[in-house]
């Protein structure tokens, strides 16, 4: 008989193994799925994971999509570690894009090397402003930050839609709901010739390093981790819960805001009604699959980026809808959460009926 019992101590190996198990199981699910819909699993695998990145341009695209995921997830992880649940990254990304992109439109006539830094700052401030709403309501009125940050996603997207439909619409754009194309000095430079890989990837990598320093070396990072693991212990040690809520949300919001700016000043080059294919939500998965650790997040963001690219290429090569990406993102997180059981619990094989646990006797 199989019995699940708590481990005396959480297993470190399992903590690292469980994302790998989850990826493996997701692949197995993919094979079963392709058999069910009548595809050759090998060609499906090839279309999904090999053909999108078999040339330099494809590798560049991997980085283009990994950059926002990495940046947002590193920011979110800092909040998640201390149980601050910011799921409003999609809105913070959008508002960052609005603020930073708005600056690009405002300085449309100006040619200067200062425009980009100002836009990036604008993106960060925008994201932080948007995140400060749930932070303020949580700390001042005890309002659930999950629901508030989520509601604000819809509000930000509607605001962007309004702006590009009306006040910021391109005057020469044949009434399409789009802003002007940004001027050259408001566009992020490409860092790898022959690809679309832009400065955003450098910013994201810097964020990974900063995130690592924050988690490992800073006292605030330590306080926040303790607060996440044991609320009472943190309270006893005098760590201020409110400050952690603020830090968690502002860091996540700032990162998401910069990511949003990098999208509109990078691959998109203007403001559109939609500036993100759900990066803000996918980054939540990236943060978890990466074990809330910057290095893990780096790897997980590449994987998740590949899932996006694979979805696009499966649409072209196999005629599968790109919605399949969302399905497998969810499946991956399901398996991860399931596999995480074995960090704190282990399976024990017991000799049938004779041994009964206390719980079973009681019932």
């Amino acid at each position: 008989m199989l019995k699940i019992e708590p481990r005396p101590q959480p297993s470190k190996q399992m903590a690292y193994l469980s994302p790998l198990i989850a990826v493996g199981l997701t692949l197995v699910t993919g094979v079963i799925f392709s058999l069910l819909v009548g595809l050759n699993p090998l060609s499906a695998f090839h279309a999904f994971f090999i053909s999108p990145i078999d040339d330099l341009y494809g590798l560049g695209e991997l980085g283009v999509k990994a950059a926002p995921l990495m940046l947002i997830a590193v920011g979110l992880a800092i909040g998640f570690r201390s149980n601050v649940w910011n799921i409003g990254a999609e809105g913070q990304l959008t508002f960052g894009a609005i603020c930073g992109g708005g600056l690009a439109l405002y300085f449309y006539e100006v040619e200067s090397a200062w425009i980009l830094p100002i836009m990036i700052l604008g993106g960060a401030v925008g994201g932080m402003l948007w995140a400060s709403i749930p932070a303020f309501l949580r700390t001042r009125f005890n309002t659930n930050e999950i629901l508030v940050s989520l509601m604000l996603n819809y509000v930000a997207i509607l605001l962007l839609s309004y702006l590009v439909h009306d006040p910021w619409r391109d005057p020469d754009g044949f009434n399409f709901p789009e802003s002007r194309l940004f001027s050259d000095s408001a566009l992020l430079p490409v860092v790898l010739e022959g690809t679309r890989l832009h400065l955003g990837i450098i910013i994201a990598l810097i964020a990974v390093v900063l995130g690592w320093i924050f988690v490992r070396k800073s006292f605030v990072g330590y306080q926040m981790q303790v607060a996440g693991l044991a609320d009472l212990a943190a309270l006893y040690a005098g760590f201020k819960r409110k400050r952690m809520v603020w830090i968690g949300l502002l860091v996540g919001g700032g990162a998401a805001g910069i990511a949003g700016l990098c999208e509109v000043a990078g691959p998109i080059g203007q403001l559109l009604p939609s500036v993100s294919p759900g990066y803000g939500y996918a980054a939540i998965i990236v943060a978890f699959v990466g074990r809330l650790h910057p290095i893990g997040i780096l790897l997980a963001s590449l994987l998740m980026s590949l899932l996006y690219l694979g979805g696009e290429s499966a649409q072209m090569d196999l005629g599968l809808p790109s919605a399949i990406t969302g399905v497998f993102q969810g499946v991956l997180l399901f398996y991860l959460l399931g596999a995480d059981l074995f960090i704190n619990f282990r399976v024990k094989i017991t000799k049938t009926v004779a041994t009964r646990s206390v719980g079973e006797v009681a019932s």
Binding site: N144, L152, L158, Q329, D340, F345
Partner: protein, 307 residues
């Protein structure tokens, strides 16, 4: 004038009903101590499955049944993760929503341009001819009547039956319930499945009565608003109803404001339900004791029998 008012009230009822189903279901789930943030995902999978089956079989009621099973099936996934595998309920709920939105877009691809005649109202003979209350009470669609029945049944179940008391006890203190010999995990599974089935019904109402169409991401945050309604109601069914119709009203106002000659861009009006959600959440959680005294004590905490 009365006709316009009756029209607005009817539209409010219609807009509120998906929220009634989803929020009442989540209320029961939360009363057992489980926080399922996947309402949006369960609702949208319920909507698409119901619509697809109704379109294929040309039987609307088969579609409704399918929605219920689809919602419960999604909830079962959540239950396995959180109750059997002890996963973090917040993370698992988010996963359920992300998965549900992706899955529904995939299932719904062939149905985006399909037109269906939705479930029609029942006109009670004679009574439906009475002015004002006739159209408002005696000629509604059957699912709306079902939502009233569900409200009554859930209130009765929670507060007047022994099983309902047990469910609430499990939500307050699973440790005491288990020491009295009650199967905590099994009871929580039931509550989670019920919540999923109700979210599925909410989805069915959207796709088969309210619109009736399938559009990608058509729930548009209603699952999340339902979650907020449960907090707003301080876990009381009657207040869930009030809250749901209040939100139905807010949704409907946006269609009428422009009709009254007020020139506000439609996107800004569409923000209203989301902003209203934030406002009511702030109002209700302002006093920390309101939440602390009313929320099920073990809400959101994993429970393992052998710990």
């Amino acid at each position: 004038m009365t006709e316009t008012m009756v029209g607005i009230l009817l539209a409010t009822l219609g807009a509120g009903t998906p929220l009634v189903f989803a929020a009442l279901g989540e209320l029961v789930t939360e009363k057992s101590g489980v926080l399922n943030l996947g309402v949006e995902g369960m609702m949208i999978v319920g909507a698409v499955c119901g619509f697809a089956v109704a379109a294929e079989s040309e039987n609307l009621w088969l579609g409704v049944v399918m929605s219920v099973f689809a919602g419960a099936g999604m909830a079962l996934l959540f239950g396995i993760l959180t109750l059997t595998f002890q996963a973090n309920q917040v993370a698992a709920g988010l996963a359920l929503t992300i998965f549900g939105i992706g899955l529904s877009a995939y299932i719904g691809l062939d149905y985006t341009s399909v037109a269906l005649t939705g479930i029609q109202q029942i006109h009670v003979p004679v009574l439906s001819d009475i002015p004002v209350i006739g159209p408002l009470i005696f000629s509604l669609d059957p699912l709306l009547y079902l939502s009233f029945v569900a409200f009554g049944a859930i209130t009765y179940f929670l507060y007047k039956t022994k099983t309902g008391l047990l469910l609430r006890a499990v939500g307050e203190s699973p440790e005491s319930a288990v020491s009295l010999g009650y199967p905590v995990i099994a009871i929580r599974y039931m509550a989670v499945l019920f919540g999923g089935a109700m979210a599925g019904l909410g989805g069915a109402y959207l796709a088969l009565v309210y619109t009736p169409l399938w559009v990608e991401a058509m729930t548009a945050g209603r699952g999340w608003i339902a979650l907020a309604l449960v907090v707003f109601s301080t876990w009381r069914p009657a207040r869930v109803m009030v809250g749901a119709y209040l939100f139905g009203g807010v949704t409907i106002i946006q269609f009428h404001v422009q009709g009254f000659g007020v020139d506000i861009p439609s996107q800004l009006l569409s923000m209203l339900p989301y902003l209203a959600t934030i406002v009511v959440l702030v109002l209700i959680s302002r006093d920390i004791n309101t939440i602390r005294l009313n929320a099920p004590a073990s809400l959101g905490k994993a429970y393992h029998p052998s710990v």
